[in-house]
């Protein structure tokens, strides 16, 4: 207990006034700056930062439920946009297909767009069915092309509203072709494995890998200069009368969805 409060108060007043004056004249400013910068500020900054990080951590723990519900919403949005993406991709492919098909010369040729409705699942490289028939001007022997004007098959049987298409990779397909480099006539046939075989190439005719093989137009119903494939492996048997080769088809016959039928020349 303070025995002499009045004396204490007087001393307090004097000391306070003295310190007030000294501080007003900035006697202690240097010391206070050093103490604030090197003592107080680092601790305060560290503490504040720790608390902010800690409160963020606890807020994260407590908001777990919000995170789960947000995740559900995001997954639903993702599924929606995935469907949209697939739909837009299909539209984009269709646009590209139509854009390339329009590169075909008009005037002498009329193109009928058809969709592939059925495949023979056991022999996908042989035959397909399309949803256009005699009512649409389809006739047997007409060429069936895909994007880039590449030959995919030949119309085989025609009904009123549907037709079957013999694919170029079918064993029964026989397509008269032209070697683009040497302008030599030859024949391309399909096979059970889906590989095209180039045959009846005279031995003296040079044949190179990657050489483009196109339709020759000799058959009459198939327009000329439709790309068929590129030469893959050359089989030059000296005992044989002709050169042979395997041809890589340009049309992806295994994944046909939409095709064009060339209905008149």
């Amino acid at each position: 207990m303070i025995q002499k409060p009045f004396r204490f108060f007087i001393i307090l007043l004097i000391v306070s006034a003295l310190l007030f004056t000294l501080d007003q004249t900035r006697v202690f400013s240097a010391a206070s700056s050093v103490a604030q910068d090197h003592l107080v500020a680092p601790v305060v900054t560290t503490g504040t930062h720790t608390i902010e990080e800690g409160s963020g951590f606890f807020a994260s723990l407590l908001s777990f439920r919000n995170v789960i519900s947000t995740l559900d919403e995001v997954e639903q949005e993702r599924d929606f946009y995935r469907g949209e993406y697939l739909r837009l991709r299909a539209v984009d492919e269709e646009n590209e297909f139509l854009r390339q098909a329009l590169q075909v010369e008009s005037g002498r040729q009329k193109l009928v767009l058809a969709e592939v409705t059925t495949y023979d699942t056991f022999q996908p490289n042989q035959e397909v069915t399309i949803n256009k028939g005699s009512r649409d001007g389809i006739e047997a022997g007409q060429a069936v092309i895909v994007s880039g004007r590449t030959l995919a098959g030949i119309v085989r049987n025609v009904e009123e509203t549907t037709s079957t298409v013999l694919l170029i990779t079918s064993e029964e397909a026989r397509i008269p072709v032209l070697l683009s480099a040497s302008q030599t006539n030859a024949v391309v046939t399909g096979s059970a494995t889906g590989v095209l075989r180039l045959d009846l190439v005279p031995r003296e005719v040079p044949l190179t890998q990657e050489e483009l093989v196109v339709t020759s137009g000799i058959a009459g119903t198939i327009p000329p200069n439709l790309p068929v494939g590129t030469v893959r492996r050359i089989i030059d048997d000296e005992a044989a009368s002709f050169k042979r080769a395997t041809v890589e088809p340009l049309a992806a016959v295994g994944t046909l969805r939409q095709v064009f039928v060339v209905t008149k020349l």
């Binding site: 409060p5 000391v15 306070s16 003295l18 103490a35 604030q36 601790v43 305060v44």
Partner: protein, 155 residues
Amino acid sequence: MSWQTLFILFGLAIVADLVLTPALGGAIWLPYFSLLLLPFIFTFADPIPAGAVFIVEALIIWLATDVNIGIIVFALGILVLFERWLVPQLLHTSTWQATVIGALGIPLFALTFAALALVLPGEPLVATGRLIVGFFITTLGAAITTALLKNYYVS
């Protein structure tokens, strides 16, 4: 309670002030944790440890607020006068009434501090709602702390 225990307690309060209260105080923060120990220390501690606490607290407040140290020393001196002379004059320090009234030294300190800082020219002090609430909570804390700690002093 020994002076070592007292200093440990006071040191922990200062650490809490430097780490926690800046996040609570905004533009101006005050060492609330060490402030709420002052009524107990100035009432029950021996003169020399109480004097050391007085000096350290004055420096902490001075560095935290940039208010003139003369004002801080005067306000703390008024608090000492209140706790060490006025309250013991009226009540026995071991009673709960003395504990409650002793805690009112905090608002007394705050008012003295604020009045001088506002009246005297050029002192940076803004009496915000946050400060007022802070002092109110500190007063409650001082009463509770004194009530808890005096049992260790009064044997």
